[in-house]
Symmetry: D3
Subunit: 164 residues, 6 copies
């Protein structure tokens, strides 16, 4: 990238972080779906369902957090390209048998790079928001199985997670 | 969006917030113009005109605030799509008879969704900045008549506010 | 602030913007309450009440927007001091006779400077969010009467807005 | 919070979200430690160790992401109080037997509210960064066991997660 | 932009700041390269090379800072257009004879406006980060020669800085 | 920080970046003053003085940029502690003999850590803003001599730069 000379020591030529150049890639329609789970106590999951958490409507706040953070993923994840998402949607399922909330996020765009990390960021920050809203009554919650379910569009083609 | 089962209770299927999918809409040239007013005391409007506010040049700061916040509207308004605005301009009129400052903002873009909310955000944050710069001498100021004047481009066509 | 010389022309000594020095002011308990209104059509106010806005739960999203933007007021308003707010709460009243939503925000802190602008920012951005959520069905909405209702704490003492 | 009248319908009095008031709580020394894991393929974990990921030094970037996002947790998590953290540190362990990276984050502050969510945000965003850096070679990675390990300071006292 | 009347005084028609309208300009491939230098003491440059700075890997952190801030240049520089950069890369050279670190940043995009200021922001914030990481041992550091080296694409054509 | 075992390889124990713990340091009154220069062509410096730059009032915009970025230094510089600044002021001197603008920034706070990097960030971003406002007429500008002039408060005591 720059001229060399005896006086210079180049830093970290191999391992250096970069935001990889995608300027030659074509625009394609892309979509990514990710999921994750928040395991809580039996009491907490009931309070969430019955809207008895002092900080307010837990899943309503988590939904908005997921959408807002998906939009600013490139400010949260250092090497992630800035993108103007065209659609973000989150869905929550409350499992009252095993005491967890499943979060699913779907993100859409037409761009030169994919939106997997945006969908995962939506799920992760929605999960953290659930933790934050409920932590006064349950510090033992755990966030698990954050992973990509499906991705379409782009040169690497379609990815669909195999069911276990 | 996800498979169902007896164990799951779906949350808020109807009322849930989403950033609506605009990925199928065509790119069109769009423009929006919005206005708003800040009513002050007689003394305050004179101080602003004579540049006698301790915090500095009131309208110069308000102009920059309006432009900067128009650019980050999607970080301020939760369900608003991120957009790369191509032009933002603000204009201020000082009405020395009725003691108000009228703010007009114009925003331009070529995109899949409109920029009404960006123009309104420019006006609102410019108005708040005027309040902030003058609040040491006038806590009774009031912000009024923030509204869309005109919008062109997009499927819903042109909107022009009727004069009263 | 800096030494002078014949070659220098000082810029804008009088009118220049600054974030005024509050480092000598004592920490005091402070609170501010602000209000504002969003006027809509009859149809829109009914849709909001009946949760029939496509983008989702209008007032739930507006509430979160108000709280989140109150927290980052110093990033929105240029000369505003950064502050760590200790409490933010918003309340909405739907007036079905005159077709408006009244927003009231209350902000608390212990600090060297007041939180009036934080309360007004909460109200303004909640109002903009209501506009954004409903603009697909009603572009004629108007935001009015954004103003400070009450302020306590600090050297300038208590401010209470006189009722009209 | 505001006066009532026959014309008003109060919105969501019970379930409404708020940033709870902590202004009466005393300042105390607080610390929180959280952990999480990123499970990868055998090949990916080796590439990370041998610094053969094209986007750069995976764990170095993840460390900085964790620290930077801990600092802005209140901008990511809606009802979280803004806080000026006094210390953030992250540690990574590579488990070459079970193919995972364990992330541990420790956050410190003297404040009126705790930093559990800041420590969990550091872990989650570091995990997402690892995913982002490696996703070109491994889309099947999974983030698991994000949870609080320990918390000291504050009225609710010490929390230590029981070992399994 | 708005109608006139005797009662109005227009503010600052000539000198007012605006984000200039680029909506009529064509999309072109653009690239900008900028450089800058941080002069340190002999001892500091050795500590950096030997990784003996307490705050961590100085150039690794500076690299990430440069990339992250290039992405959000429009939030840092008031009249700068928001852009979705497609590539950012930074390179560092340590000059052990004259005790300085040279920073070179390259930014790419396809857009209606150039990325010179993004490349300069990457260099400047990387330089500030080096200062921040080393200031505990060397407060006398100096940042110099921040300037554009090359720019291609756009109506104003190519710019190449003449060598001295 | 975490327990060890044969299966784990610790990453980067020595060189890893951290936001150093300042929780045991006392609060003291602190101040920092920094400077920098933007060298332009003869024509550009005259245009700035005569307010003939199309983008608007160059130094007015630069002043606000410096103040706003000083406030968010911890979001720009990775290992920098978040701080609530109590005062920020910038001063500009136009040198019409040697064709440069000298920027001086002063930052104040009462805190556990100093504000040198905040003052330098104010100067650097004000300089970048001058570049951005004038780049349409002068791509050859150069930013130089960004450095700390004075620092008071804190354990390391006073620093005053020696005049050359």
């Amino acid at each position: 990238m720059t001229e060399n000379s005896q006086e210079f020591t180049h830093f970290n030529e191999a391992g250096r972080a970069k935001m990889v150049d995608v300027s030659k890639k074509p625009l394609t329609e892309r979509k990514a779906i990710a999921e994750g789970k928040v395991y809580t106590s039996f009491e907490t999951i009931n309070r969430i369902q019955e809207a008895k958490i002092e900080k307010g409507d837990v899943l309503g706040v988590a939904q908005i957090a997921g959408i807002m953070n998906a939009k600013k993923t490139s400010d949260i994840i250092p090497m992630c390209h800035p993108l103007n998402l065209t659609g973000v949607d989150l869905d929550f399922e409350i499992n009252v048998k095993d005491n967890y909330i499943r979060i699913v996020a779907e993100v859409k765009i037409s761009s030169q790079t994919g939106v997997e990390i945006e969908a995962l960021t939506a799920v992760s920050t929605a999960a953290l928001t659930i933790y934050d809203m409920c932590k006064a009554v349950d510090k033992g919650m755990e966030i698990d199985e954050i992973r990509l379910l499906k991705k379409t569009g782009g040169q690497s083609g379609e990815f669909v997670r195999e069911t276990e």
